[in-house]
């Protein structure tokens, strides 16, 4: 097996793993009970899936300009996914779209109850 073959195998493994993680993230979106749980699926496996696919692309293309663009895409993915998730989660919580039965502890509700009491 030559060096090129090894790299091709690496590219294939990264593509398949990335695809699987994105699939799993999609399944999570369908199966999880509320917005907050679904946002977990939309951040972690989804981001790692995209990063793996970008890594596969970087290894197969191997040229400077494309690599720079891929780094930029990966960086923005890492930077924006948590921000979007936080805004969605915050809006969901404030509008009461939380599956209360699945929450064992809610210290934010306790905090808000405590803050309202002196009024």
């Amino acid at each position: 097996m030559t060096g090129g073959d090894v790299l091709d195998v690496l590219v294939g493994v990264c593509l398949v793993l990335g695809g699987l993680l994105s699939l799993v993230a999609g399944i999570g979106l369908v199966r999880f009970p509320d917005v907050l749980s679904r946002t977990h699926a939309a951040t972690k496996p989804q981001v790692l899936g995209v990063l793996l696919i970008l890594l596969a692309l970087a290894v197969s293309m191997r040229n400077g300009a494309d690599l720079a663009t891929l780094v930029l895409i990966g960086g923005f993915q890492l930077g924006t996914a948590p921000l979007a998730a936080q805004m969605i989660g915050r809006a969901a919580y404030r509008t009461g779209r939380v599956h209360q039965e699945s929450l064992v502890v809610d210290e934010l509700a306790e905090h808000k109850a405590g803050a309202d009491r002196p009024d």
């Binding site: 399944i27 977990h40 972690k44 300009a65 948590p82 929450l103 934010l108 509700a109």
Partner: protein, 216 residues
């Protein structure tokens, strides 16, 4: 909620404006220029990467775009008061990648595991030890990606993050999540924090016992 800037009218914005001017006067001129130069350099780099090559034309175009952004879309200044520690930063990145893999596999497994077992979650309050805006923002940003957590709300005045934890099986899972959040904060401060902040996170954890809510 505390920490929000409400557009309550001209009186508030005037007060905020006066506050900014006072703050600006206190900041040394040299540091402001350093921050500006850093921002311009970063924007020029992104601009060149977007075009895919570093040419004189791209550098010039990027500089023009950066100056236009700085002049017309100014942001509240976040001054970087710490210093970069390359070794700690490398450790941070390594742990980040490892934790991202662990968290992804965990969430993925929860998504596909067979049976209609009930999913149990929790929202816990974690009080950070370093309560600067920059630390709060960085920790919140990284937390939504790594240790199986998600930020629901941030209380800027109290330096407290409200964190959603997926798939909680017992009280020890909550304690572990809390410890992980604080460990992440410590790694972050070790990488980019100032020496004073570093002392705050490496001191014995006396402040963490005063968390609102406490353990369940």
């Amino acid at each position: 909620m505390t920490g929000d800037v409400r557009p309550d009218g001209p009186a508030v914005s005037r007060r905020v404006g006066a506050g900014w001017r006072a703050l600006r006067r206190r900041l040394p001129q040299r540091r402001r220029w350093r921050d500006h130069l850093f921002t311009v350099g970063w924007l020029v780099a992104v601009w060149s990467l977007l075009w895919g090559e570093f040419t004189w034309g791209n550098l010039l175009g990027g500089a023009v775009v950066a100056v236009v952004i700085l002049v017309f879309l100014p942001l509240p200044r976040v001054t970087f008061g710490g210093r970069l520690r390359p070794l700690a930063l490398a450790e941070f990145v390594g742990r980040f990648v490892a934790e991202l893999v662990v968290a992804s596999v965990h969430v993925g497994w929860v998504a596909v595991r067979p049976g209609r077992s009930r999913l149990r979650n929790a929202i816990i309050a974690v009080r950070l030890r370093v309560r600067t805006d920059l630390n709060l923002a960085l920790t919140a940003e990284v937390l939504s990606l790594v240790p199986g957590t998600l930020i629901v709300e941030a209380d800027r005045a109290a330096g407290t993050l409200y964190v959603h934890v997926l798939d909680v099986r017992g009280a020890e899972d909550l304690t572990r999540s809390r410890d992980r959040v604080l460990a992440l904060e410590a790694r972050l401060v070790r990488s980019v924090g100032s020496d004073a902040e570093l002392r705050m996170v490496s001191a014995p954890t006396t402040t963490t016992t005063t968390e609102p809510g406490g353990s369940p």
